[in-house]
């Protein structure tokens, strides 16, 4: 079954990055075919899945997204489920248990919508602090693409520059005004101020007070994880019907397993399995692999041929290396007075300034945040564990739900070639290699946590008036996968160029988290989206030039 499918631009992956590139290409008059490994379902089905999930699974954001056999992802916290697909090893393997979703729409189905830009200094780690890598361009180069990405997603944020991050002039204001703080976040902001640090309102891809692109304003279902029931938060699933209305084709349940090159090192085709394990070949003029920092390098490594013995796009041997995330430490607090989290979105603010400083030559900084999810589930489980019944139980559930708070630290990590994705010998349902990941957060992060962020966290806990607190001792994942097809100008130590084009293949683009040279301590999506905008311009330019 050869050449059943073709288009100018073949996009593998239907998450935020694939959707941005697809829509930009369609708007420029190019034909687009998108291939998605997982199924395509309606929002209301996910909503009902979630509401019917047993309480003990409710904290796992992938639980409402049952994995198809041909597109596995981590689905629950059960031991089997966590080890079945991702093969994790190294000192901090647990911290790379990434909860991405292999469904049409991708992981933005259950992102928080937080859109922190990188700070200019985050892009110059080597020259300023002598650690990590410098980006191939500076913040000012990226700024217009950030703005375009914010308008594509519909980001709300503060209009005052001192409340923006970075606190620098923007080419355009945020498309919508900020969402006000709930009571819990307000209290956290005041506590932080007493410690001398500023908690900023988060820019977020969420409609504040008005509709955007046909999606309604946020009404505070506090349900951003694991799905916005009303699509007030941007997710790529909301872009799919629009892409189709512009003529784009979307093929779900199509698991791309091989990228085919020709003698001139151009990409000729991609091959996919359908759920019947039949293979099909898709040809195009230009190929975009937008499967983020685990599935993208996995596909490239699986595609090795005689011309590319280490895998496609991997002359530098950097494909799969430099894996980054933001190693996370969480804390649960019980306060004397109610905190009242849960009003508004699940996250709405963060302390960003603690990621910046000369200390970065010695250790990591971090973003600190008070989670704004309603903690009735945690409160309920804790009250039940006390063996209470009747009115006493009811009262205790109410007290614990109101008085519990969760704080989070997400650390900056340096790119390290030893943090690496390789192909496991273990095979999935289709017979494809499972990803094997070695991960060590490194002394830079450990030192940063012990010497800097842990003391800061303890100050905040005291300032909030906690009567009890538990601080996690294990780093966990933030789901911000980055670095595994790292960007640079030197083809011998990087995978993609400044436009996310593979150094080795002129018509192959790898936009998204994998291309990021560094990640700072903020959420990665808007930087990925900005890179996708930049790549889209290059893609359109390349195809229009002929």
């Amino acid at each position: 079954m050869a050449n059943d499918y073709s288009a100018d631009v073949i996009v593998v992956g239907t998450g935020v990055i694939g959707c941005i590139v697809a829509e930009q290409a369609l708007d420029a008059g190019l034909s687009v075919l998108m291939l998605e490994a997982g199924p395509r379902v309606e929002r209301w089905q996910i909503v009902e899945n979630y509401r019917n999930v047993p309480p003990r699974f409710k904290q796992n954001w992938n639980a409402p997204y049952p994995a198809k056999p041909w597109a596995p992802h981590i689905e629950s916290e059960l031991p089997d489920a966590t080890t079945d697909y991702l093969q994790l090893e190294g000192p901090n393997g647990r911290a790379y248990r990434q909860g991405y979703v292999r469904y049409a729409g991708g992981a933005t189905w259950h992102w928080a919508g937080i859109c922190w830009r990188l700070h200019p200094d985050d892009m110059r780690l080597k020259s300023l602090y002598g650690v990590g890598r410098d980006w191939a361009f500076d913040y000012n180069t990226l700024e217009p693409y950030y703005t375009r990405a914010e308008y594509a997603l519909g980001v709300c944020g503060p209009s005052e520059v001192e409340l923006q991050w970075p606190p620098l002039p923007r080419s355009k204001p945020y498309p919508m005004g900020r969402i006000p703080f709930g009571q819990g976040e307000q209290r956290f902001t005041e506590a932080a101020a007493r410690v001398g640090i500023t908690n900023l309102p988060a820019p977020q891809a969420r409609n504040s007070g008005v509709s955007y692109d046909g999606r309604p304003p946020c009404c505070g279902n506090n349900n951003c994880f694991p799905v916005c029931p009303i699509s007030a938060k941007y997710d790529a699933a909301s872009a799919l019907p629009r892409i189709e209305s512009k003529g784009g084709k979307i093929l779900a349940n199509a698991v791309v397993y091989r990228v085919e090159t020709d003698a001139k090192q151009n990409i000729q085709a991609v091959h996919f399995f359908n759920p019947n394990k039949e293979t099909q070949r898709v040809v195009g003029k230009l190929f975009v692999i937008a499967c983020n920092a685990i599935e993208t390098p996995k596909l490239l490594l699986m595609s090795k041929d005689e011309r590319n013995p280490n895998g496609v796009a991997n002359r530098s041997d950097q494909v799969g290396r430099n894996l980054m995330d933001q190693p996370k430490i969480t804390a649960q607090l019980l306060l004397a007075e109610p905190m009242w989290t849960g009003v508004g979105p699940v996250q709405g603010s963060s302390i960003m300034m603690t990621g910046q400083g000369d200390f970065r030559s010695q250790h990591a900084g971090a973003m600190l945040r008070c989670e704004n999810a309603a903690l009735s589930a945690a409160g309920g489980l804790a009250a039940l564990a006390k063996g209470l019944v009747g009115k006493a139980l009811d009262t205790e559930i109410r007290r614990l739900s109101a008085c519990t708070a969760r704080l989070t630290i997400e650390h900056e990590i340096l790119s390290d070639p030893n943090n690496r994705l390789t192909l496991s010998d273990k095979k999935d349902w289709l017979g494809l290699n499972k990803p094997n990941i070695y991960y060590d957060v490194g002394d830079y992060v450990r030192r940063g946590h012990q010497e800097y962020t842990l003391p800061l966290l303890k100050k905040l806990i005291a300032e909030l008036g906690a009567v009890e607190s538990q601080i996690a001792t294990t780093f966990t994942n933030s789901d911000h996968m980055m670095g595994s097809c790292i960007m640079g100008t030197d083809p011998t130590d990087s995978v993609v160029d400044v436009d996310c084009r593979a150094h080795d293949h002129h018509n192959l683009f790898l936009p998204g988290g994998a291309a990021m040279t560094s990640g700072g301590c903020g959420n990665s999506t808007i930087t990925m989206a900005a890179l996708a905008m930049k790549a889209s311009d290059a893609i359109v330019d390349q195809l229009k030039r002929g």
Partner: protein, 472 residues
Amino acid sequence: MDILFRFVGAAICLMSASSAALAAGDDAQAASIKRGAYIAIASDCSACHTAPGGKPFAGGLPIVSPVGTIYSTNITPSATAGIGQYSEEQFARAVRRGIRGDGANLYPAMPYTSYNVLTDADIHDLYTYFQHGVEPVDAMPTRTALPFPMNVRLSMMAWNLLFVGSGDNLTDTTQSAEWNRGKYLVDGPAHCSTCHTPRGFLMQELTGSYLGGAQVGPWYAPNITSDATSGIGSWSKDELARYLSTGSLPGKAQAAGSMGEAVEHSFSQLTQEDIAAIATYIKTVPPLHDASDEQSRFDYGKPFSELASLRGTNPIRSDTDAQASGAVLFYGNCASCHQPLGQGSKDTYYPSLFHNSATGSANRDNLIATILNGVNRTTPNGQAFMPGFGGKANDINALDDGQVATLANYVIEHYGRPGAPVTPADVAEVRAGGPSSSLLLLARIGIAVAAAVGLAIILLLIVWRQRRARMA
């Protein structure tokens, strides 16, 4: 010298007088433009003549009518594409009689059947506004091309002969000035009957059923007569005023579709006095009662939830092939905003689904159209927004006709007026733009209009023969 002084003095007097006259003229014109702009708002000209995202009054909005798609015209003062070359008389003829500057007939999508009661003073202000208060746009919108026989614009002459009123605007001296103002606004600029009065075989308004409720594309413009059960007789004058100004009357109704547009572009921007006048008049419209209405459409339903029995037992999951029940569709699509009991939000931004005309009406089309198309209404009070669930490019879910029917039936069963269920075919009809766009009706109307044209020709022939007979 004396003479010279007198002459100079007279000249100065003359000059200052003429500049004063000029200034007075400017002031008068500015005032006329201002009044004309208000009448344009009251007449909701922009609803049709401004396309979404287009320049004001540049036309091009496609209006789906029973006889085909009509594109609104450019009514900016552009001499080439608009009405810049219209005299006031030509303008008046177009607005009041539906006759274009070149003598061709307009289609009655332009509500000249209502505008024909506009006073000379209002026409003058409207003319001044469109000539001097609107930016000219030189772009010609898409031309209307209706199928035969409607493409014969002459056929409208016969229709006009039969169905256009005298245009007399008589004051009822037994009523208050406010009532008379209200009647003028309702029957003239606001052209309420265009949507709310049912139409007959030839698409003419049935004056005997004045404001008794009618189909408008996918939406249903309900009975707004003073009948307490079938109409809005149960509304107080203040409630009616609140509805018109904001598009929302919690516990009773909210405006969507073309009424949402009328509230957004017109009613919400009228003076409180005019809104009060409209309410005063509407309250006196003779009641029309539908014998099948046992209770008001605003009183049906009550809070209801079956969540407790739904959760944890045989849940539908996205990876099962089971048909979703009405309850599952309701909780997955509706309850996140309208709440598990269907009670809406405390601030009434999200209306309750019971005590709501959309669910309590015997006509199901507004419920279906709301599910498919959502609501988007902006007034000085802010935006009221509900997304669409019918699978359009920006809709948040893509429910098919069967699912919408299942969901609508669940809603009317538990929160609205039970009775005849919604069928997938009903949903398909609303999705396609409403019953009036069906080909059958198109053909029927086409033939009927052709018959009317034929009738008119026969009549003309009779007159001609009689004249000839007399001459002979």
